[in-house]
């Protein structure tokens, strides 16, 4: 098992290189003039900036050499300078990554909890109104355009009923806490500012529900299907014959047996969450990677777009590796072989 993880970790850099290569080719091939991929339109007339960019990216060299320079720059953490913010893309992304993580993790927790609970209920009360309700809920989640759902919920809860705050991470009138982890909820707590913490949390609720909903459906369907299968197995009868209560039978005996597929689907859902986060952040003005990507795409800010894409790919890879490790740990049979 250790072997397997080591092998996967060795393969990682190669796929990373593939991701980088793909990102390079995207700009190198699609753009007629590679200069337009690293220098914004307004600055194309500025000979100093143009010369500096040529030098930095080796734009007058042949393609293979440019590729090497590109990879070299990346290794130094240089993804170019954003046309829009005029700051290094790496700096921008580092500043925005925690906001996205906070949203995605919170959505993952909400989505998993809702998905698992609904899945368990749907399986236990199969073919009843509860089952049908869970099915409709899940279908809706996977079919609704997330940006529209976000707008609709924002309109309902923030404008119409005024239960929850509007877009953003924290009330703009409130002074944000000093950045420690970059997670607004944690930083406000660390600063001991409980009012700000409550405000940050209430800002997190709506986007997390919107984002979590999209994966809750998939998770609940999978939990249901697997539970139906497991509840028919004989060891469930054994557990009941032992005198175990239904809650214990469902959670400790049945659910533990489907942990592996559930963990797998939850980490797969990470892909959907990243995708969904892009749009959710755009709707909720959430200052993370997703809204950065959207702004970049709207203003054709290539260094920023490519930077986000690479970081997104890397995040994907790491999650998949973690999934595999979790998979191995959760399954005693795999662990022992």
């Amino acid at each position: 098992m250790l072997n397997y993880i080591v092998r996967r970790s060795i393969a990682m850099p190669f796929i990373l290189l593939g991701i980088v290569t793909m990102a390079f080719l995207l700009t190198a091939i699609t753009k007629g003039d590679p200069l337009t991929a690293v220098v914004s339109e307004q600055q194309l007339n500025n000979p100093e900036i143009v010369a500096a960019a040529r030098q930095r990216w080796g734009l007058d060299r042949p393609l293979p050499e440019r590729y090497l320079i590109y990879v070299g720059n990346l290794l130094k953490g240089d993804m170019g300078t954003s046309f829009v913010t005029r700051r290094p893309v790496t700096t921008d992304l580092m500043a925005r990554l925690p906001a996205t993580f906070e949203l995605v993790i919170s959505a993952m927790i909400i989505g998993s909890v809702i998905g698992i609970v609904f899945g368990l209920l749907a399986a236990y009360y199969r073919d009843t109104a509860i089952d049908q309700g869970a099915r409709i809920f899940s279908l809706f989640g996977s079919s609704v355009p997330i940006f529209w759902l976000g707008l609709a919920l924002l309109f309902l809860f923030s404008v119409k009923y005024q239960i929850l705050p509007g877009p953003g991470r924290i009330d703009p009138r409130m002074s944000p806490p000093p950045v420690v982890t970059g997670f607004m909820t944690i930083d406000t707590l660390l600063a001991g500012n409980f009012t700000a913490f409550k405000d940050a949390l209430s800002h997190l609720i709506l986007p997390s529900i919107v984002l979590g909903w999209t994966v809750a459906g998939t998770i609940s369907r999978l939990v249901r299907a697997n539970m139906l299968e497991v509840m028919e197995r004989e060891f469930i009868l054994t557990a009941r014959a032992k005198g175990a209560g239904e809650l214990r039978v469902v959670l400790r005996h049945a659910f533990r047996n489907i942990l592996v597929p559930v963990l797998t689907v939850i980490s797969y859902s990470f892909a959907y969450l990243i995708t969904g986060a892009v749009l959710t952040e755009a709707v909720f003005a959430w200052p993370g990677m997703g809204s950065y990507a959207v702004t970049a795409a709207r203003s054709l800010d290539f260094p920023a777009i490519i930077g986000v894409t690479i970081v997104g790919g890397v995040m994907f890879l790491i999650t998949n590796l973690l999934t595999d490790i979790a998979y191995v740990l959760a399954n005693p049979r795999v662990r022992l072989n």
């Binding site: 060891f235 009868l237 032992k242 005198g243 175990a244 400790r252 533990r256 047996n257 005693p332 049979r333």
Partner: protein, 350 residues
């Protein structure tokens, strides 16, 4: 063996008395009867064999008695255990009863054990569920003791292993250890040896018998194999299509079967002595759920069947402690087979 002692004078109240137990499944607005009236009794320390083909309702009846029927099943009748009526008892009380006073083991020990829990955890759970105050150390000590009792070598190492690391026979021993963890008074063994190798079957049966003696258990042995019953039961109830068609002490049943179905079953036990004989089997197949023939359910497969059998359900005829549900229970020709109750199932090496 101890047939005579255990069935001595009829004791005051039986440990378990099942009367007219019916289990049905509703399907498309119709009721499909699976168990049509189970009547059996069991005294303390007694071994009752319940024999029937698969689908005869033998397991279903016992599961329903313990409140373990499927959700769409409808159960009526009476099951009295130690003077308490179990049918209609609140679920919480049934849970308290299961695994402490009445335990069960099942056919396939691999699928009956939870694959993602260690063997120790599974036995410990049976203990802790019924003794909330038990500490973890106490429970572990008791688990080790139980594993020793069912002759599992190196219990302190085995306790932390998963079911797939055990052999078939070892798994069934684990199931037994789990079942006897709380010193139950009744153990229901549902085809306990069917999924095991022949040599292991004998070991498991010996173990059940030893434990019965040691712990004073009453045992219900559910099986499709009259041979298993012959060597180990005190009394036998033969079930066909959801009804007890014959019940008698084991020697009496083999010496003097009064139901043609029982005769067919006895005739189809493989014989060690006459190995050249072709194995007998009862012609036809048991009726499908909800497609019961009229009259006696067995008549389409019965060589003695007359017109009356096709029209009228047979009465239960009592012949002392022997009862049979057949129109011709008293008039069937004498049974030619020698009584082989005791000698047929003793394994060559024990």
């Amino acid at each position: 063996m101890s047939v005579a002692e255990t069935t001595g004078p009829a004791s005051a109240a039986p440990l378990l008395r099942i009367r007219d137990l019916k289990v049905g499944f509703s399907s498309h607005g119709k009721m499909l009867p699976a168990v049509r009236g189970l009547d059996v009794e069991l005294s303390k320390g007694e071994v009752l064999g319940i024999v029937g083909e698969s689908g005869s309702g033998k397991s279903l009846g016992m599961l329903a008695s313990l409140g373990l029927q499927a959700r769409n099943a409808v159960v009526t009748g009476s099951v009295v255990f130690k003077g308490r009526e179990l049918i209609g008892r609140p679920r919480r009380e049934m849970r308290a009863l299961r695994g402490s006073e009445i335990s069960m083991i099942f056919q396939d020990p691999l699928s009956s054990l939870n694959p993602v829990m260690t063997v120790g955890d599974q036995i410990r759970e049976a203990l802790v569920l019924h003794n909330r105050s038990m500490t973890k150390a106490q429970a572990t000590a008791r688990v080790l003791e139980l594993l020793q009792l069912v002759a599992i070598p190196q219990p302190d190492r085995r306790i932390n292993q998963y079911p797939h690391e055990f052999s078939g026979g070892m798994r069934q021993r684990v199931m037994i250890a789990m079942a006897i963890a709380n010193n139950p008074e009744l153990l229901v063994a549902d085809e306990p040896t069917t999924a095991l190798d022949v040599t292991v079957q004998a070991q498991i049966m010996r173990m059940l018998r030893d434990l019965k003696e040691k712990l004073g258990l009453a045992l219900i042995l559910i099986t499709h194999d009259l041979g298993v019953v012959a060597g180990h039961a005190d009394r036998v109830a033969v079930i066909y299509a959801g009804l007890v068609v014959e019940e008698a002490e084991v020697r009496e049943l083999f010496a003097n079967p009064r139901h043609p179905y029982t005769r067919g079953l006895i005739a189809s036990i493989p014989k060690l002595t006459a190995s050249k004989d072709k194995l007998y089997s009862i012609p036809g197949a048991p009726p499908m759920l909800g497609a019961l023939p009229e009259g006696c359910a067995f008549h389409p497969r019965c060589s003695f069947a007359q017109d009356v059998c096709r029209k009228v359900a047979p009465p239960t005829v009592e012949l002392g402690r022997h009862r049979a549900s057949c129109h011709f229970a008293e008039t069937l020709p004498p049974w030619g087979e020698p009584a082989r109750a005791a000698q047929s199932e003793e394994p060559a090496h024990g």
